[in-house]
Homo-oligomer: 306 residues x 2
C-alpha cells in the first residue's frame, strides 16, 4: 500500500510512472482540493481532475489541464452570455463539472463523486479528496486577496505575494479513508508538487499532519524545485513569500520533521549536506520527468527508498 | 405590436418570416415552457431556445433543435458518467443551460433570464416564457405517464396516447408582460405549432385564454396540420387522442372561439366551409414553409389578415 499526496500536473506525471512500477490497486492518492473553484455555477476540482484524466490516459499531453482533443464551444458561448472565460474549460471537461455539481446538489460528498468518476474512467488507484468540506486557498497579494486560480490563471502569478491562507481548513475534516490511507501505508510519497498550495493545504487539514508524522520513517518527498526554480507553477515565488528559500533545501525545511527521505535532483548535489543536517536521508537522481521513461525511473527510484 | 404564441420549430420558422415583414421590435413572443425538462442538473427550455437561436441566426438549419456547427463532447462524456444521452444537447447549447441554471439557482425568474439571453444573442423581438413557474406536460400512454420529451424524443411518439396533462399549470401565473402583450396587441398570431402541447399549454396558464378571448377580433391561427398530417411532431396523434380530428377543421375546433381568422393550406380547400361554420374567417395560401421565401410570404399573408 502506497499513499501519494498530490497536487496537479507534477503529481500526475509522477503517478503515471508509479502505476508502471507498483500495482495501481495498491495506490491511494490524497488530492489537494484547496484550489477548487466555483465557476458558471459548477464546482471544479482542478487537481483531482488532472490526476484522474492523466491516469485515465485522456489528459492533454502538454497543457497540464484538460482532456486531449477537446473543443471549447461551451466556454465560448458562456462568454457571449457575459461569463468570465479566463479559466479554460473544454467541452469534455465540462461534463465532469456538470456531473460533479449535480451530485453535490443532491448531497453526495466530493469523495464519493471522485470515486465514481475515476471508476467511470477506468482509473485503478483510489483517489481521495483531502476533505469533503470546502476550503479555499487564498493568495494575499499587493493587489488584494485572490483565489489561488485568480492568482495563477487570471493574473498569471504577477502580483507580489504577501501571504497564503487556507480558508476554511481549520474546520475541515479529512475525507473518509484519508487517515486510514496514511496510517496503513507501507510508504507515503510527496511527489514534486507545489509545497505551499498543493501539499501544504493537505497538511493543513486537521489530523493529516499528525497521521503522516506517525509514519515518518516511511515518508519520502521529491523536490519540485531544481536549481532554484520550479519547473511549472509559482512554488518558488510562494516559498519566498512565506520565508523559505526557493531551493530544494527550502522544500526540505518546509516539510521538516515529516520526512524520512528526500529525493534531490543531481543538478542540486551541492545541497545534499544541508538537507542531511535536517536529519533527512538524501538520495540523488534525475527528477525532471520529460517523458514516460523518466517518470517510470523516478517512481522506481522513490519506491526503492520506501 | 404583434404578439405570437410560440412552440418550437414551426413557430421559429414562421417568426423568421415575420421579422422580415414587420419591425422585429414590435414583436412579442410568448413561448411554451411546458416541455421544459431538467437533465444533468440543468434546466432546459427547448421551445424558448429554438426560437431564440433561430432569430439569432445560429440555429441548426435542418434538425429543428440546437446550434449550427455544434459538437457533442459534453454529452458524450456525460454518457461515460452514466447520464442518459437520449436528449441531444450540443456543446454550444450546453452553455445556455448552464447559464440559465446558474441564474435560476440565484433566484432569477425564467423571464429575466430569457430576456438576458435573447439580448446577448442580438435577438430583437421580446421573448417571454408563458410563466415563470414550472409546469410539465405529461403524456399519459399505454406504457405509463411520460414527460413530453420522453414521449417525443426518447420513445419517438411510439406509445399509444390516452391523455395529455399540463401538470402544475393550474397554480401558474403568466410571466410578467404576458397579459399586457396580449391585451395591447394589434394582432395575436398562433403560428403552425402543435395545438395540444405547444399552444394548449400556453392557453392553460390561468388568465391567458381570457386575455386572448378579449382580443378575439385580432387573433389569427395557422393550421399546423395539412392534409391530415403534421409536417413535424406528433400533433396529429395527440389531437386524435384528445377527441379532435387530425385535420385543419380539428385545429380550428380546438382553438374554437378564440379565433377571428384561420389560415388554411390550399391543399385543404375542401375544409374551408366547415371552418367558416365555426364563425371563423378562413383564408387560403401555401402554409408549408420550405425556405425563406415561403416563410416571408406566409408571414405577410397572416399580417395582412390582422
Amino acid at each position: 500500500m502506497i499513499t501519494v499526496l498530490a497536487g496537479g500536473v507534477g503529481a500526475a506525471k509522477f503517478l503515471q510512472g508509479l502505476v508502471e512500477v507498483v500495482d495501481p490497486r495498491d495506490i491511494t492518492i490524497i488530492s489537494n482540493t484547496g484550489d477548487d473553484i466555483d465557476l458558471h455555477g459548477l464546482h471544479i476540482s482542478p487537481d483531482i481532475d488532472i490526476v484522474t484524466y492523466t491516469l485515465a490516459g485522456i489528459s492533454h499531453p502538454d497543457q497540464g489541464w484538460g482532456i486531449k482533443g477537446d473543443t471549447f464551444h461551451t466556454l465560448e458561448m458562456l462568454g457571449r452570455y457575459g461569463h468570465p472565460t479566463w479559466f479554460n474549460l473544454g467541452d469534455y471537461d465540462f461534463a465532469t463539472h456538470i456531473h460533479r455539481s449535480e451530485r453535490l446538489r443532491h448531497g453526495w460528498p466530493l469523495s464519493a463523486i471522485t470515486d465514481e468518476i475515476r471508476h467511470a474512467l477506468g482509473v485503478l488507484p483510489r483517489i481521495l479528496p483531502m476533505t469533503d468540506q470546502s476550503t479555499e486557498t487564498k493568495i494575499v497579494t499587493d493587489e488584494g486577496v485572490l483565489h489561488f486560480q485568480e492568482y495563477l490563471v487570471q493574473r498569471r502569478t504577477a502580483p507580489p505575494v504577501r501571504d497564503v491562507r487556507y480558508e476554511g481548513v481549520e474546520v475541515a475534516t479529512p475525507a473518509p479513508g484519508v487517515c486510514e490511507a496514511l496510517t496503513d501505508a507501507d510508504g507515503i510519497i510527496i511527489p514534486p508538487s507545489n509545497p505551499i498550495v498543493s501539499i501544504g493545504t493537505i497538511l493543513a487539514v486537521p489530523g493529516v499532519r499528525q497521521a503522516i508524522a506517525a509514519r515518518r520513517s516511511r515518508v519520502v518527498a521529491v523536490s519540485p524545485i531544481v536549481q532554484g526554480a520550479t519547473l511549472k507553477g509559482p512554488a518558488d515565488k510562494l516559498m519566498v513569500a512565506l520565508g523559505y528559500e526557493a531551493t530544494a533545501v527550502g522544500v526540505a525545511r518546509y516539510y521538516g520533521d515529516l520526512l524520512d527521505g528526500f529525493v534531490l535532483d543531481r543538478l542540486d548535489r551541492t545541497q545534499q549536506e544541508a538537507i542531511r543536517r535536517l536529519d533527512i536521508d538524501v538520495h540523488m537522481t534525475n527528477t525532471i520527468m520529460k517523458g514516460p521513461a523518466e517518470r517510470r525511473a523516478l517512481a522506481e527510484f522513490v519506491v526503492r527508498m520506501l
